[in-house]
Symmetry: C3
Subunit: 245 residues, 3 copies
């Protein structure tokens, strides 16, 4: 039984790109509700969850649950040839080829055996005391500013502000986002965690596209970003680094 | 006796670029009807013919036939400084210097001894059963799409369609251009030849600029592209590769 | 006693860039009249003088003369994050840190000990017989055109024209700027000097931004360029090279 669907090229591209920032190969689950994937980076530090809901598709002919293995670079190469508004048709069977038709081109792409792809991670059950909602570009700009100074970033909450700091050997940067700069901040206790900028910098390329991003932050706990781009739900989870004195 | 002429910079640039995609040095023939050159690439696989008709020049003071040797990179370097609408004046004598005046600059460029440049090829007399006229951008897009999958491309005609396919180790692409997608197709018998994408990819940078390109195609025969850009007539000839099974 | 000032980011960036084309580190003098620096390149061939007058600042709280050492790459990195219209606040003390606040970011940047920076040059007292005023883009275009042919450029005056020439092994270029092309030319005697294009090419990136540039030229003497960009006064001085026959 084959799965058939059609979707705007740009929508599929932006959604897959969000995961592609962390991994090259994914196990894509085809369900009645839409497509979803969970991916963890090789170092086990960052995790991405993506759901493209069924109603974001132009057509969606689901027959049964299946899981296919995809090389994201290969797909991205092909999607980059079509324009974002072009409707792309997919047809695929479990463990087989994927047929992609777009803009008059018909591709037959071999899939990857899902059993060879890194196992889907367990999503940890986290209770994070601080929830901050803010514009994605603000996050990206703070990450860029901190990168000029350091390889690490400290995110903390204090008196209903989000404080972002970076310290290099001699130089430092501090960004103080108060309630006026944020869409919402709800912090039951002060939180403070330190993260590697390597991962955050990659993640911020997708984060910056979302007008509203929800951050969940704790003290020496993973950070979680939840947002929506191109109709898809994306979650990033990033483990903290230990602060050395 | 010197040859003197003036022409819009952009016109000369685009015309010479079409040949420059295959070779670095050309023998340029100055005749009563205009400038022309024939060039074959070092591997003898691809050939370019260019004619810039006399009436595409702003002024054209011809006195006698002559042949000069030109380093296209040198000329392109200079042309890139002027804007496309600027009128460029050339003055040259056989086997001597070329004087170029444009936008207030006066260059004296040494020519190459034409006898040191690769001999002009004989143009084979080909009878190719299929003639297809189509938009140059369509050709370029098909070449780009095939490059994602393979190093080779198969061009064939079938039932008044042009079929373009590429096969990689595991993946494939097929583009089916029917009469609706083509300006004209006239195929007395089905044709099918395989070509290296290396050359076609270079050629397509000029081909894509022409709204109408005439392709002549046979079975395991060279392909010929004829088109006009910036008022110049260009022909590309590309030898087929043998299909391995 | 700290120095505090605020200025448009773009104004500071463009002014410092003019010096940054020659050196990476500068001694910046803070005076009642504004900021100034003099820098000489490591080979002692080119010199840059910059003054940002006090009235180009939005606010300028001067208390005493001081000199600070700045790594221009570090500052440029930070300025590139803010938009040109953003107001940037500086606060600094001699031999200490610099605090920079812009667009909601607060940086603390360590300064360089001024005594470790290359000594400020003496500005030679030159009497140059030719003064030419012209558009900066014209200078840059002539430099670009000459670079295609040679590593050296000859600037000379003759009959109230500025003649720019370059000679390669086989090729040459000549640009003849007459009184019509110049804003002013005042040449008491013919001047002629040869310069390395390496330095002029770097300098021309700032020179091209000035609608009016004053050149002072002699025979086998340094050339001086004086111009104003973003409200700052800039002078470049470049030593001549010896013409080999």
């Amino acid at each position: 039984m084959a799965f058939k669907a059609s979707i705007k090229t740009g929508k599929l591209k932006e959604s897959l790109d969000a995961v592609g920032r962390l991994v090259d190969e994914i196990k894509l689950n085809i369900t009645e509700e839409g497509l979803n994937t969970k991916a963890v980076d090789p170092a086990n530090v960052a995790m991405a969850l993506l759901t493209i809901p069924e109603d974001e598709f132009e057509s969606y002919n689901y027959t049964e649950d299946m899981t296919i293995g995809i090389d994201l670079n290969r797909i991205d190469d092909i999607l980059s040839l079509a324009s974002n508004e072009d409707i792309l048709k997919i047809e695929t069977e479990e463990g087989s080829m994927m047929n992609i038709q777009v803009s008059g081109f018909e591709y037959n792409i071999s899939l990857i055996d899902p059993s060879t792809i890194r196992k889907e991670p367990n999503i940890p059950d986290l209770e994070l005391p601080a929830e901050i909602v803010l514009n994605g570009q603000r996050i990206q700009r703070a990450i860029k500013a901190t990168e000029k100074i350091s390889d690490y970033i400290v995110l903390s909450t204090e008196d209903n502000s989000l404080i972002i700091t970076g310290e290099g050997d001699t130089d430092s940067v501090k960004i103080d986002l108060t309630e006026d700069d944020l869409i919402k901040i709800d912090s039951t206790e002060n939180a403070r965690s330190l993260f590697s900028l390597d991962y955050l910098s990659d993640m911020s390329k997708s984060i910056q596209k979302a007008p509203e991003v929800t951050m969940h932050l704790g003290t020496d706990y993973p950070i979680m970003f939840k947002f929506n781009i191109a109709g898809s739900n994306i979650e990033y989870l990033l483990a903290p680094r230990i602060e050395s004195d």
